[in-house]
Amino acid sequence: MEGDIVTMGAYLGAGLACLGMGGAAIGVGHVAGNYLAGALRNPSAAPGQTAFLFIGIAFAEALGIFSFLVALLLMFAV
């Protein structure tokens, strides 16, 4: 065995932080799924709402990005 317990903790923490990306994945899927459900009900209104689809995805994704950021910080900065 080599390395120390701080490195182990950092790597474990980085791995655990990646769980947050799963939450972002659920959020992005929710946004896209609801958009598709709405678009199939009223296809003529769908093209005008794609901008909001991408804005919603971007905001949902931002919170997954923070977990990615925490993982990066633990891997390279701590």
């Binding site: 991408f54 804005i55 971007a58 931002a62 990005i65 923070f66």
Partner: protein, 236 residues
């Protein structure tokens, strides 16, 4: 991974701020590619456009409509800035997909400069246009009064987190895509005859990466438009 390492173009000296590196080279190529599409192909100003001119016109119209729809009519004076951002990020992402190329947008330093520029522009613009009234962006008057301080705190935090998520989204998506392709390519080297499977997977991933490159450029610019709208119309 060696595809993300910044190296000097000439010699092996340490990298200073003035050293020409592979980042400099690929950013210059990006600028040349954008100029090639938007200036060189449209020089004829033909009524019936050539393929290149019609691509340039399509991207111009696409971004113009996006600025108009998302940020409003009076945001059109910022169209040149948003168009520049979109074309630069799009071409940086797409050029980075060429094998042995360097993806400049996979570095947080590069995307952070662009995101901070947007953040500072939008914040200064808000204060110049509305003075202290810009702070009403954080004070949601439609919410019940006891909730407003809590909401104001959340709004302020989310406002200052914007440049972070704005920059890391682009850099993270680019870095992750290239890293995944590299991992699958590593499988191909280890499997021998079975390498067909990872090679097919890498090909499919490459197609996905093309999509991601365009979508991330689009998302970066559309968020810029959203932030711009907040600065122009801070009232909820």
């Amino acid at each position: 991974m060696d595809q993300f390492i910044v190296t000097p173009l000439f010699g092996d000296d340490a990298v200073h701020w003035y050293t020409p590196t592979n980042v400099t080279l690929w950013m210059a190529l990006t600028v040349f590619a954008v100029a090639g599409l938007l200036i060189y192909t449209t020089r004829g100003r033909a009524i019936v456009p050539s393929r290149g001119q019609s691509m340039a016109e399509l991207s111009y119209g696409f971004i113009y409509k996006m600025v108009e729809d998302v940020a409003g009519r009076d945001a059109v004076r910022f169209f040149p800035y948003i168009m520049t951002l979109f074309m630069f990020i799009l071409f940086a992402n797409l050029l980075g997909l060429i094998p042995w190329a360097f993806t400049t947008t996979s570095h947080i330093a590069v995307t952070a400069v662009m995101a901070l520029a947007v953040f500072l522009t939008v914040t200064l613009l808000g204060f110049i246009l509305h003075g202290a009234g810009f702070l009403r962006l954080f004070w949601i008057s439609s919410a019940p009064l006891p909730l407003r301080p809590v909401l104001a705190l959340i709004e302020v935090i989310s406002y200052f987190v914007r440049p972070v998520s704005h920059s890391i989204r682009l850099a993270g998506a680019m870095m992750a895509g290239h890293a995944v392709a590299k991992v699958f390519a590593g499988f191909a080297g280890a499997l021998g005859v079975g390498a067909v499977i990872p090679i097919v997977a890498v090909t499919a991933l490459y197609g996905l990466e093309l999509l991601v490159a365009v979508i991330q450029a689009y998302v970066f610019t559309i968020l810029t438009c959203v932030y711009l709208k907040d600065a122009l119309h801070p009232h909820h």
